[in-house]
Amino acid sequence: MATRKETPSTPTAPMASTSPGATLDSPVKQIQIEGLVVLKMIKHYQEEGQGSEVVQGVLLGLVVEDRLEITNCFPFPQHTEDDADFDEVQYQMEMMRSLRHVNIDHLHVGWYQSTYYGSFVSRALLDSQFSYQHAIEESVVLIYDPIKTARGSLSLKAYRLTPKLMEICKEKDFSAEGLKKALIGFEHMFEEVPIVIKNSHLINVLMWELEEKCTVADKHELLNLSSSNHLEKSLQLLMDRVDDMSQDIVKYNTYSRNLSKQQQQKHQYIQRRQQENAQRQTRGETPLPEEDVSKMFKPPQPPPRMDTLLIAGQINNYCQNVKEFTSQNLGKLFMAEALQGHNS
């Protein structure tokens, strides 16, 4: 098996955006992906995942010091049959066993998923990632954005759940008090791990050959000036989410209003009771038995805060994407202006 013992050097291009110089308190500080994995993911989405369906698959690799190396991957079939669950586990086992025969790393280190305009923060993703991270500490989820990639540059991000979120998921305590205790905001749900792409020398030779043979010119999608389509769709999704959020907030407001109303009623009831008791005492009758106030006024159910957190995280993600997109487009517009200025 080819050994990959090179120590990680600082890559020549600036890294993907994370808090600069932050030491993630996780066992994984960097992800190293092979070119083959990238190509496989692209192919999988291209062939099987048209429209807004997500395609998923498993990542295989190994952990070297504080780096997670992803060396291969295989796709998951879509959920079309009824007995999908059983098929999945068996499929996975068979695949890994077969891959072991050909010396491919058969250690599960994570999973990947494609996303539609950046909408991946959902309960399902959270649950899956939690079960992965619980079983394998260093696992990550790779989010591949095909639409952004088609616009000109590969969009691949690696996420892990923060330890705080792991704690909460473990205890299944999603109420407001639980979240308050852990001081979790929507920014602290996921942590992004920087990605580095590495190719073995043989693959590099292949790249040279392909470039020689292939006469397809660079399409330069990246310098495309059109923006309205993409912007419209992103904003549409953002608006839907904000609507969800506002509904959630309304729910929470009604809950807190109900709660305070109930408190008031409780107080009133207790006061009336005391008054009655005082009156009865003056009249010389036995005081009424103290009733259990809490049983009479059952407190309303507090709405779960987890959904709110997820929606907030998703909105945050959309906003980030939109901002990146607009900054790129502004740059392109200024370049076009310069070009016109030269011409006229």
């Binding site: 990238v38 068979e94 691949l156 392909l210």
Partner: protein, 286 residues
């Protein structure tokens, strides 16, 4: 594992002008990777090619390696494994069929003939792809072959592998992925990080600038007489210069301003939204 002898009947081939073979880069990367992971003592690896067959072309989109043992006089291929893997792959992409097989190495050996016969049973007119991963001739020499009968019928028959033309097919997104991987090979230690948004635009602009510089040097050479002018190139140059749209300055100003305003408004709104949800959270936690 199983062995078989040379007495199997040979299949007939298609016409002399065989189909065009279109390969996706993921297949080649897979082959290279499985070559790097081969067992000790094995000099080459073989595997199955999956893809789709058209009227005049065969598109190879996927592959997986198959363990095999090769020695001086016998070959053993794990057929069960190959069948199993094909079933698993079929679950994910039901439209892919076995179109042939691949082998690394420079030459086609006699063992290849046997393996090719096996694959003829699985698919009609299988393609044989070779990739020289040991770089014997300094290049990778990716070639595809189709088998054809030759010789005198009834007496000695043999198999000839006729070469086919190989083309590379990319999806758009694959093209972009390959561009990124190509950039990897220039970096020391063969690593590369993914760049952030504006850097990408800057990079693309830099590349266009390089291309323009090349064109400029060519033009200057022609003007100073160092190179003879080529009419077709001249026509391309004229197209290029005319591509910049001729818009009056005021129209362009209005277009530019309205676009910039849209983008700025969207940025402002998204910042506002982010501030809102942050506030909402703080208030709830209070």
């Amino acid at each position: 594992m199983s062995r078989w002898s040379n007495s199997e009947p040979l299949r007939s081939s298609m016409s002399v002008y065989g189909p065009v073979v279109k390969i996706h880069p993921v297949v080649l990367a897979s082959i290279g990777d499985s070559y790097e992971r081969r067992n000790e003592g094995a000099s080459r690896v073989i595997g199955t090619l999956l893809g789709t067959i058209d009227k005049h072309s065969v598109e190879v989109t996927n592959c997986f390696s198959v363990p095999h043992n090769e020695s001086e006089d016998e070959v053993a291929v794990d057929m069960e494994f190959a069948k199993n893997m094909y079933e698993l792959h079929k679950r994910v992409s039901p439209s892919e069929v076995i179109v042939g097989w691949y082998a690394t190495g420079f030459e086609i050996t006699e063992h290849s003939v046997l393996i090719h016969e096996y694959y003829s049973r699985e698919a009609t007119n299988p393609i044989h792809l070779t990739m020289d991963t040991a770089l014997q001739s300094g290049k990778m020499n990716i070639r595809a072959y189709l088998s054809a009968q030759m010789g005198v019928l009834g007496k000695t028959v043999g198999v000839m592998f006729t070469p086919l033309s190989v083309k590379y097919k990319y999806y758009d997104t694959e093209r972009i992925g390959i561009d990124l991987l190509e950039r990897t090979r220039d970096a020391p230690n063969t690593t590369n990080g993914l760049t952030s948004d504006l850097c990408q635009v800057g990079g693309a602009a830099g590349r266009v600038q390089d291309m323009l510089a090349t064109v400029l040097t060519y033009i200057e050479d022609v003007l100073s007489g160092k190179q003879t002018a080529d009419n077709s190139v001249g026509r391309y140059l004229m197209d290029l210069v005319n591509k910049v749209p001729k818009i009056t300055a005021e129209d362009f100003e209005t277009m530019l301003n309205s676009n910039i305003n849209d983008l700025l408004m969207v940025t402002y709104l998204s910042n506002l939204t982010q501030a809102q949800i942050a506030l909402n959270e703080k208030i709830v936690v209070l």
